[in-house]
Symmetry: C2
């Protein structure tokens, strides 16, 4: 059966491109959602759906709201995908860059391309809900004189012509996406124990001196590496802190032992998913 993956954004958006990158070689259907909470709701209503959700970006940082959605939801992480976010300037075929009077995109994408856009003062910047949506609007309404700042995949999908690519000021714009599934489906899709080399966990600790150093020291004794750690104050429970951590390891058995070794030192510990690390060069 064809996999169905919920994405945040309209067809052609960066989530869509990332889903197709992760499942490359497979023909998948992507299903549009207009927010991350809606995406989690869709997952919980239909166990056969998969999901893809951005979790951190090298410019914007960690998407803390999405960490919380993961913690509060029941979906599990079954994989990760890292993708460079590169913007293009796209317009209807036949349009010349000097004929353009308006550029449409998400405000964040417009800001990320500011240095490029400064060279074209004739183009008025118009903010839109999303990058791929801006491209779709131009294509559907045949808007001559308009350009979109969007991904190459969106431009191609909507039949627009890429007039310039890689127009973002900071080329080090990477997003890490998580692939999500219902626990029952996750059990089927999960890689074999020999292949699993990464895990995402969330735990709380008493706000006592050295609580975190004990946990990390035990993890290091078990040869578990920390590829990410992030603390988050728990409002209304000021004596406790919550931590999100990503662990990488060579031995799945050692990792399982390490989790049991630190569990008694934590107040709550939940494994959000065990998967294969994305080795994309970033």
């Amino acid at each position: 059966m064809k996999k169905r993956v919920t994405i945040q954004g309209v067809a052609g958006c960066y989530h869509d491109a990332a889903a197709r990158g992760y499942f490359s070689g497979e023909d998948i259907d992507t299903i549009e959602c207009d927010s991350f909470p809606a995406l989690m709701d869709a997952l919980s209503l239909d166990a056969s759906l998969l999901g893809i959700m951005a979790i951190e970006n090298t410019i914007a940082g960690a998407l803390l709201q999405n960490h919380e959605l993961l913690r509060m939801g029941h979906a599990l992480i079954i994989g990760e995908y890292k993708m460079r976010i590169s913007h293009s300037l796209a317009a209807l075929p036949g349009q010349d860059i000097d004929e353009l009077t308006e550029v449409n995109s998400h405000p964040m994408a417009l800001r990320q391309c500011e240095q490029f856009l400064l060279r074209y003062p004739a183009m008025k910047r118009i903010e839109k809900f999303d990058t791929a949506g801006a491209a779709r609007e131009i294509a559907e309404n045949k808007l001559t004189g308009h350009a979109a700042v969007c991904g190459e995949y969106a431009a191609r999908l909507y039949g627009l012509n890429v007039l310039a690519s890689g127009i973002e000021t900071n080329k080090r714009n990477f997003t890490r996406f998580l692939i999500l599934a219902d626990p029952l489906v996750a059990a089927d899709l999960k890689p074999g124990e020999k292949d699993i080399d990464k895990s995402s966990i969330v735990f709380t600790l008493p706000h006592s001196k050295g609580a975190l150093s004990k946990v990390l020291t035990i993890l290091s004794f078990y040869d578990i590496n920390l590829s990410k750690i992030q603390s988050m104050p728990i409002i209304g429970r000021e004596w406790e802190y919550r931590f999100y951590a990503d662990l990488t390891f060579d031995s799945y058995v050692r990792y399982c032992q390490a989790i049991e070794a630190v569990r008694p030192l934590t107040n709550e510990l939940r494994v959000l998913g065990e998967y294969v690390e994305c080795k994309n060069e970033i």
Copy 2:
């Protein structure tokens, strides 16, 4: 001399309110900046200026871009302030809530008040650049029928009438602000060593197993508590990780010794500021 504090946003915005909260009892001037990078530029051009910058929010999470601005700039942290972000519905005096046809605010603030606004379907939501700016526009142009979603301070500043307050769905919306100064000015304004009980540091570590646990274990031996930790991959230098940490302590001397004890284990370690912890109930 009256202190001059650069804020991000227009007069009356949450940064403005936080600056006045931190310097309560003093008459200060606030200077508008329209972005965080512009704020840092203003600080580096005029050493007599102070600055205030949001660094984390309990809903949106850590503002990673601002961590990076701090690291790359030369200003030091001289204090912190924690403030609850509570939105009000404000309109021209004499207006009744049922007469309103339009509500203006920053898209984030509109979303945060969605449940309240659903009760007033007659009000069309119009997105504006910022909350206090929406209030100012209504006041300056005497826009009857319009309301702004903004802070109470903005409503008061622009002579608007608060029709409803605390209208945000999630009341646990707190922002932590840092007070910044040029290093020369910081040396004058810095609290005495006896009062300093918090510090913000940034360091990089080799990407070897257990590197972070060694650093945290040493800090705990010196009775230094970790009130925040956040990792950040260093793009292009994949064998290293950067960490932002906030430390709290009882003894400034012990803290200084701890910094020297961990320094040789780190690749780069910079103290971003030493200050008095904000004990606001959050």
